[in-house]
Symmetry: C2
Subunit: 104 residues, 2 copies
């Protein structure tokens, strides 16, 4: 679903990744991370995700401090470690300030 | 492929969409638009795309003026019109300034 975000400005974390072919908890963990951010993380505004050759997950946040807190969340830190060790061949994370949006 | 973008700052256009089930030139046009941006559009830095339930295409640009020029490119205007008429149930476009990035 397209995330229902507020009027800009707000922040986007664009996470682009290429997976290994190791599954080993990946799908469960990915879903758990979204649920955790949604339920417990201050400043979380929504997320969008799609994958075929590459995966793109964009999460939206009210401010940079919320992104920093999420990055250092204990469960998320463990998921990040497993991501580097097992699930991702490569990834790139971009932190961006959304200045404008429009929809159809 | 993960786009090879320069050191920030630069801009990202995050285009999230839900498709109709009308194909009618969609795939050809989507590919043609990426090729056109790549070959002819000043300020274009790369793009990433994935789709399953929703589609996410993120294109990267050196500055806001390049994004504006691309939005008003004649061929792209036609594609945008067909997108609204045939291919997309809904979409959201977000213009964001990439402030930081890191990779693995």
């Amino acid at each position: 679903m397209i995330a229902k975000t507020p009027t800009p400005p707000y922040y986007a974390v664009i996470f682009t990744s290429i997976r290994t072919n190791i599954d080993d908890g990946y799908a469960i963990t990915a879903d758990a991370m979204v649920a955790l951010a949604q339920q417990q993380q201050p400043g979380f505004l929504g997320a969008e995700s799609a994958r075929n050759d590459i995966g793109i997950t964009v999460s939206y946040w009210s401010d940079l401090d919320s992104i920093k807190q999420w990055k250092s969340n204990t469960d998320h830190l463990l998921a990040q470690r497993l991501g580097r060790e097992k699930w991702y061949k490569s990834f790139k994370t971009r932190i961006a300030k959304v200045e404008r949006d429009y929809e159809f």
